[in-house]
């Protein structure tokens, strides 16, 4: 999991410099910043805009288009539950409802102690062993609410 820390201008500038030579560098830059800091801080936008010679609004427009990029850090563990059809066919919606109720969350919310964020995902390619989920970067198939409880107990720092 990426560290959630407040990056300095220099940290951000270094990441931008690493990717500037690429064709179409904007997405790789946003990914790299998010990977390093757990989110893309507002302070990064003008630096990216300047380096790529585009407007700040343009950077914001791109960033906000994609579901992956976040402006603020998520919880220490990000749980993504698949809501797509193949997982629905094996009771995924009921499992998701129970997991959310357990944690007292709605979709895209974080527990008050900052431990867990739950997000919706539309297919993880695990459609023959659903319902499927990811915790951090570990995939899990045939999940139940009980199994998620156990996994989260193991995983929550």
């Amino acid at each position: 999991m990426p560290a959630d820390q407040t990056p300095s201008r220099d940290d951000i500038a270094a990441i931008i410099a690493d990717h500037r030579g690429m064709e179409g560098p904007l997405l790789p830059i946003l990914h790299a910043i998010q990977h390093a800091f757990g989110h893309v801080p507002q302070a990064a936008l003008p630096l990216i805009a300047e380096a790529l010679n585009i407007s700040r609004a343009e950077v914001h427009g791109v960033m906000s288009f994609y579901h992956d990029f976040r402006e603020a850090p998520a919880g220490r563990r990000v749980v993504k539950l698949c809501r797509a059809e193949a997982c629905q066919a094996v009771g995924g919606a009921a499992v998701a409802a129970e997991v959310l109720a357990d944690l007292g969350l709605n979709w895209q919310e974080t527990t008050p102690d900052g431990a867990v964020t739950v997000e919706a995902v539309y297919c993880l390619g695990l459609c023959a062993c659903g319902p499927a989920a990811v915790i951090g970067d570990r995939v899990h198939g045939r999940i139940s609410a009980a199994r998620m409880r156990a996994l989260l107990a193991e995983a929550t720092p």
Partner: protein
């Protein structure tokens, strides 16, 4: 002794890493010398983690194996055991397939270029290197290969357009955005046999005169990203990629790019915008990407499976490939069987098998044991087919004739507990969440669609006509298939399962 434990994401999701660790530990404890190989999956997902042991009689399988089972497997001498399945390739689900594209998937160590070549890899490319670009494109055209990403457009014709275009730089872009529910073939081949995709892309480059390529891979597939990244580095070190492909005077290099969680970026022009670092908005066509694609230059955009099938076509010849199939659907198609089904997994077969045979015979019916109610074919934009259309043979035109589409060939099975009104509502909701926002029927229509279906769910039968009108507007007024095809799941649900829309007391809760 060689033991195989898949590192495919589905196998890992079912505990394969724990099994691999247990196998290592157990072998060490007993002082048995083993080589543990993390292969791709054979595609029999209900048997994962599927452990294979190499014996004199070939590879024999055990599954599904849990970490707890490993000690008893060793006690049984890795032979006679309750989880024993016998020779892996004799398991009926596997034995009934025709594996061309997926021939090596699950068989070899995905990142061993030596094993790749030992199993026929690179022979297609070596043949292509001796051919003219025109002959390469002709070979693909004659194979009858059509795009496996969804639209089924003839690959050879697309390549011909790019070959004919004059430009200093051309590109090969691999669409690995696989966002459809029920599909995992792209992920499986990348994790299980990534060099076949690289080889296919190099051949495409030689064919159309492109020296650069991109693989645009969705961020939801971290395992595939890791394997693809490693495979590209290995290919470059080995001279398969770079300024001199396999020591020839031809150059081709490849880069991996990761998407950022937008379904619409699977649409080819949206994908190109995304690669360029823009919002993933769909571009109007014309101009075709073949003429003005990435950075405005001629670009082949092909799906993973389309490109990964190219090597076997060159290895065995266009005629060999074309001889499989039915009508204008030539060759084989990796069908992904998923959802509520007993034997879920990947089944590669020649076009032409009926949907019913795939669901009931190959898939074994539902996992719940209840009757099949509906099957969604072709992802979230595909129609729900009732058992009454199970005679439909798997083919582009055949499905079209039944008001459906095969898309990326995912089949999602639902039992009789499925609520078709809720699934129709979900289709509208998905469209609303994923719309790129460019056209009103898609952006606003989908939101109205959710509301209208909720009205129907509350017992307002008049809203059915409204929903029908709305779907017609979305179909006619949308720029791309996200808005344009959402009516398929919605209207097919309404048409085939009217009872689910007729209830007067049902709450259409999200």
């Amino acid at each position: 002794m060689r033991i195989y434990v898949p590192a495919d994401a589905a196998a890992r999701a079912l505990g394969a890493d724990e099994v691999a660790a247990a196998v290592r530990a157990e072998a060490q404890r007993r002082g048995i010398d083993i080589t543990l190989i993390r292969n791709g999956t054979r595609g029999m997902i209900w048997l994962e983690p599927l452990v294979e042991v190499e014996t004199e009689a070939g590879r024999t399988a055990f599954g599904p194996v849990g970490a707890d089972d490993v000690a008893s497997l060793f006690d049984a001498g890795l032979a006679d055991h309750p989880l024993a399945l016998g020779p892996v390739e004799a398991i009926p689900f596997f034995a009934r397939q025709t594996r061309l594209t997926f021939a090596r998937c699950g068989l070899i160590d995905p990142l061993s270029l030596t094993e790749y070549q030992a199993h026929g890899g690179l022979s297609g490319l070596r043949r292509a290197l001796a051919m003219t670009p025109e002959d390469i494109v002709t070979e693909v055209t004659e194979s009858g290969l059509r795009g496996r990403g969804g639209a089924g457009f003839p690959t050879g014709i697309k390549w011909q357009t790019v070959l004919n275009a004059k430009a200093a730089q051309k590109y090969i872009v691999c669409n690995a955005d696989e966002g459809d529910s029920g599909t995992f073939a792209d992920r499986m081949i990348i994790e299980g046999d990534p060099f076949t995709l690289i080889e296919g892309m190099v051949i495409a480059g030689l064919g159309v005169g492109a020296t650069r390529g991109y693989v645009y891979l969705r961020s939801e597939y971290p395992d595939a990203i890791r394997v693809m990244d490693a495979a590209i580095a290995i290919a470059r070190d080995a001279g398969l990629l770079g300024p001199s492909v396999l020591g020839s005077d031809r150059a081709f290099d490849l880069e991996l790019r990761v998407g950022a969680g937008a379904y619409v970026c699977g649409e080819e022009t949206s994908l190109l915008n995304s690669l360029e670092g823009k919002r993933g908005e769909v571009r109007a066509k014309p101009p075709l990407p073949a003429l003005k694609g990435l950075f405005g230059l001629p670009t082949v955009v092909n799906n993973v499976i389309s490109l990964a099938t190219v090597p076997v076509i060159f290895q065995r010849g266009a005629a060999f490939y074309r001889d499989f199939g039915l009508g204008r659907s030539r060759g084989t198609i990796p069908i992904q069987i998923a959802g509520n089904v007993k034997h879920g997994g990947l089944f590669e077969t020649a076009f032409g098998m009926s949907l019913g045979e795939l669901v009931n015979d190959i898939g074994g019916g539902t996992a719940s044991g209840r009757p099949v109610k509906a099957v969604q074919v072709g992802g979230p934009l595909g129609a729900y087919m009732p058992p009454a259309s199970f005679a439909t043979p798997f083919g582009y035109e055949e499905f079209d004739g039944q008001g459906g589409l095969i898309g990326h060939a995912g089949i999602v099975v639902f039992d009789d507990s499925a609520d078709m009104l809720r699934l129709a509502r979900f289709a509208m909701e998905f469209c609303a969440v994923e719309s790129c926002g460019k056209c009103t029927p898609c952006r606003i229509g989908s939101v109205r669609g959710i509301e209208t279906i909720d009205r129907i769910g509350r017992g307002d039968a008049d809203a059915i006509e409204l929903l029908t009108d709305l779907c017609a507007t979305m179909k006619d007024g949308s720029l791309c298939a996200l808005g344009g095809f959402t009516p398929y799941p919605v209207m097919s649900a309404l048409q085939h399962f009217p009872d689910d829309f007729a209830a007067t007391t049902k709450e259409a809760v999200p």
